[in-house]
């Protein structure tokens, strides 16, 4: 099943400026793996290990997923990665 993934503006340096791509997968995690195969380095930006970074929200068909990479995709979907806001502050950033 193919899905339309919107590449965040700050990560379009990895896609040569491409804004949206069609990606196959049954879960968001599989989509990220496929994105990383086509655009190396994408997974490291979106994930810590196998989990989507805590300050990134996955939006599937307009609804914020609480399952992150484990979110199953049961129909062709539109996927966005946006800053997690929880209704307010952008988040607390990690230091190195």
């Amino acid at each position: 099943m193919h899905h339309e993934v919107w590449i965040p503006a700050v990560h379009r340096d990895l896609t040569g400026g491409v804004e949206t791509v069609q990606v196959a997968g049954d879960t968001v995690g599989q989509l990220i793996d496929e994105l990383d195969r086509r655009f190396p380095g994408m997974k490291a930006r979106l994930c810590q290990g196998e989990r989507v970074r805590p300050h990134i929200a996955v939006v599937v068909n307009g609804v914020i997923s609480t399952r992150g990479a484990r979110q199953r995709l049961t129909e062709p979907s539109e996927i966005h990665f946006v800053p997690a806001m929880s209704g307010g502050a952008v988040d607390g950033r990690m230091t190195r």
């Binding site: 700050v10 800053p83 806001m85 209704g87 307010g88 990690m94 230091t95």
Partner: protein, 753 residues
């Protein structure tokens, strides 16, 4: 559908009525128990020592003299607080890194703002505690201070946190910086869009740090018992968020933490993060497991709780002669305070949200400065953003010779259009809300007289669903005891009880709601993000459906029929020609108690829009702005209790007016807050405001919600400063590009004009 008792167009009996709030009598008679009212046996009183410097290295802390003072039972510093690692933690309406939350609770190596907690004392009474705090000797190395976000971004600016690197949605920078995050939304071709425009307006804006201004200061009582159990009583937007923070910050098992919320005297986003509670708990343990009470003074609230960000914003917008916007660009610099976490992400989402745009770029920066760590404030980040964008939109409409409402109607987003950050909008009632103002007698009546002007502005807010748990038991007389965990700040006991009553077909007065602590109900997210009437309403509807199923079984047993034969509508159970009301059925008795519980997590909260219109008169000799008339229309979905929806809108406008005209944190060059009192931090009072006419637009019930509820608590704080700025422009000819638009600033602008 036939009209029912209250004439609501959707046939509701309870929803849309205005019953008396369940907590009303206790509130107006002074019987409601707030944190300051709580007294426990053996109670000690705590006090915090705060940094006199806005930026300083802490070289040493000597607590010996304080500990030796008679009556002192415990003194703590950051050495008593467990070290916690980096971990991002969601608190509902705000998100934070635990390590920073710990260092904001008690400074370790550096003080990052004037008022940063350094140590705390517990003593037999508050006077001894205050004396003891003054005996603590701290050796500081003062460091250069940076208070302005754009200055903090410059090379060579003092670095607040050495390990910080700029995070661009997972892409980390390599150099030390005060820029914690850069957010970007980009779509289409912005420069091509501007090339297509007939008119382009570009302006820069500045807003100051402002505080939520809740009347009740932060307070809390903690008992760290001998058995290791920690009990917290406090004023909070979410008992479970407090439990979680206490557990993480003190490294205590969550099962060993109980939080009991007391009544709350305002919050507006500022009572999600803990400040005093972990200190009181540590002091309790160190003082031999005696309970410790801590309360902030007003000065402490202003200096060292969580105001919202000051900001610098640039907006550029271009349009064709027909009014269609061809491109828009915005840059937002939000001051996070001493630790990362400004609401710039939300600001970046709000700033162009009302406009249908093919070509856009938004860049947002979360920047550390030596001010208190920002926390949520009613539609966090939205008011700053809309102030800038709505002033530019107004100027663009004026340059095109268009009515400002018509200009927005031409460009208004609707269902299926994309937000700036990409996702498509669901059903919204924005256009209907614009039309509500356009057709309102206020807007249709010309404003006459010298030095007078009318301004309009619009606002968008995301809204949020969140997790809720509720339970209920049916009493023998057919009334229902409802147990919930959502802090009631703006009348949600009533709005939640009404939705259960509607589901059960009984009177609102027959539901008795009670807000309880973490041991007595399932998990609940905070009351924030305009979520409670929506999200907890979802839960009580599910609860009511379960109770109705139990009642159908009772009716089936009573009539000796299959349960499938029993129908229920509006509180009347029927099978064939037999029928019985909810109360009558309960009176028949039940072998087992009638109870149920429900937990829900709706994720499809619909966003809200507001459209405001204000008339002002500007005194040409003083610059004072007097509000003559204010009308606020809002897309509210379904108004459960219209009085409380109107109250939310009016309260939000009042706060927005304060933000727009008077409120600001004033610092000296060394970063000392100079106006830490309500005498000098000027919030609006009743004489400053006219009657605020709230127009409830109920044309777009939120899809998915059983009653179409749309969150209403926040969005109306967004338009006021912009609406006022636009009105001031029409009254005086000047465009005010900095908040607050105080008399001195307006006067200066008029002189320079």
């Amino acid at each position: 559908m036939a009209m029912k008792e209250n004439g609501h167009k959707n046939g509701y009996r309870v929803i849309g009525t205005r019953p008396i709030r369940p907590d009303g009598v206790d509130k107006v008679t002074g019987r409601a128990v707030f944190g300051a009212d709580l007294h426990l046996p053996g109670l000690l009183y705590g006090k915090v020592l705060r940094s006199p410097h806005a930026h300083a290295r802490i070289l040493s802390i000597d607590t010996s003299a304080a500990e030796a003072l008679p009556g002192v039972k415990a003194v703590i510093t950051a050495a008593d607080l467990p070290q916690v690692a980096d971990k991002v933690k969601s608190l509902g309406e705000s998100v934070g890194n635990l390590r920073y939350m710990s260092e904001n609770t008690l400074a370790r190596e550096k003080a990052l703002y004037h008022g940063h907690p350094i140590a705390a004392v517990a003593a037999e009474n508050i006077h001894v505690a205050e004396e003891a705090v003054n005996l603590i000797e701290v050796e500081y190395e003062p460091l250069p201070v940076v208070l302005d976000g754009r200055e903090a971004m410059q090379p060579g600016a003092p670095i607040l946190i050495q390990g910080l690197r700029t995070d661009e949605l997972g892409k980390l920078g390599s150099e030390p910086t005060n820029v914690a995050a850069h957010i970007q939304h980009k779509r289409g071709d912005v420069e091509a869009g501007f090339a297509e425009a007939d008119v382009i307006i570009e302006r820069e804006f500045r807003t100051e740090t402002v505080h939520q201004g809740y009347i009740e200061p932060q307070n809390g009582v903690a008992l760290w018992n001998d058995d290791g159990h920690i009990h917290i009583w406090c004023s909070t937007q979410g008992a479970f968020a407090v439990r979680s923070q206490i557990s993480d910050l003190l490294r205590a098992p969550i099962s060993q933490v109980t939080v009991t919320p007391l009544e709350i005297g305002g919050a507006f986003g500022g009572k999600i993060n803990v400040y005093l509670e972990p200190l009181a708990a540590l002091l309790s343990r160190k003082a031999g497991h005696r309970p410790v009470k801590m309360t902030m003074t007003r000065a402490e609230v202003l200096k060292a709780s969580g105001p919202t960000s000051g900001s610098w914003i640039r907006v550029r917008m271009g349009a064709k002669k027909d009014g269609r916007i061809t491109a828009a660009q915005a840059e937002l610099v939000y001051e996070a305070g001493g630790f990362p976490g400004s609401p710039v992400g939300a600001g970046a989402g709000v700033i162009l949200a009302p406009y249908r745009l093919d070509n856009l770029q938004i860049d947002g920066y979360d920047v550390l400065v030596n001010r208190p760590k920002a926390s949520a404030y009613r539609a966090p980040g939205g008011t700053n953003a809309a102030y800038a964008a709505e002033a530019v939109a107004d100027e663009l409409a004026e340059a095109l010779g268009m009515d400002p409402i018509d200009f927005r109607l031409i460009n208004a987003v609707k269902e299926g259009d994309r937000r700036a950050d990409g996702p498509m909008l669901p059903r919204i009632g924005y256009i209907e809300t614009l039309q509500a103002i356009k057709n309102h007698p206020h807007y249709r009546q010309p404003l006459e007289g010298p030095h007078r002007g009318r301004g309009v502005a619009v606002g968008f807010w995301f809204n949020w669903g969140g997790k809720s748990s509720v339970s209920a038991s049916v009493n023998e007389d057919g009334t229902v005891n409802l147990v919930e965990g959502s802090t009631d700040i703006g009348g949600s006991r009533a709005s939640i009880a009404m939705q259960l009553a509607e589901t059960l077909g009984i009177a609102a007065e027959d539901v008795h709601p009670q807000v309880v602590g973490t041991d007595l109900v399932g998990y609940n997210d905070v009351t924030g993000g305009s979520r409670t009437t929506y999200g907890t309403g979802y839960a009580v509807h599910a609860l009511g459906v379960k109770l109705n199923e139990i009642m159908r079984e009772l009716a089936a047993d009573l009539w000796d029929v299959d349960v499938e034969e029993v129908r229920v509508e509006g509180g009347v159970f029927s099978a064939g020609d037999r029928s019985i009301t909810f109360k009558e059925l309960v009176a028949q008795g039940s072998d087992t108690p009638i109870t149920a519980s429900a937990a829900t997590h709706p994720k499809d909260a619909g966003p809200a829009f507001a459209v405001h219109c204000v008339d002002v008169e500007v005194d040409p000799e003083t610059g004072k702005v007097t509000i003559l008339r204010y009308t606020a229309a809002q897309d509210v979905g379904t108004a459960i209790h219209p009085s409380y929806v109107e109250g939310q809108i009016q309260g939000a406008v009042a706060q927005g007016v304060g933000w727009g005209l008077n409120e600001e944190y004033i610092y000296d060059e060394e970063g000392h807050l100079l106006n830490a009192s309500l005498l000098d931090y000027r919030m609006p009072t009743a004489p400053d405001l006219p009657m605020i006419d709230a127009v409830l637009v109920e044309e777009a019930p939120t899809p998915g919600h059983p009653f179409g509820v749309r969150g209403v608590g926040e969005v109306s704080i967004i338009p006021p400063p912009a609406a006022l700025a636009n009105a001031i422009h029409r009254a005086t000819g000047v465009r005010m590009t900095a908040l607050p638009m105080s008399p001195s600033r307006v006067m200066k602008a008029m002189i320079e004009h």
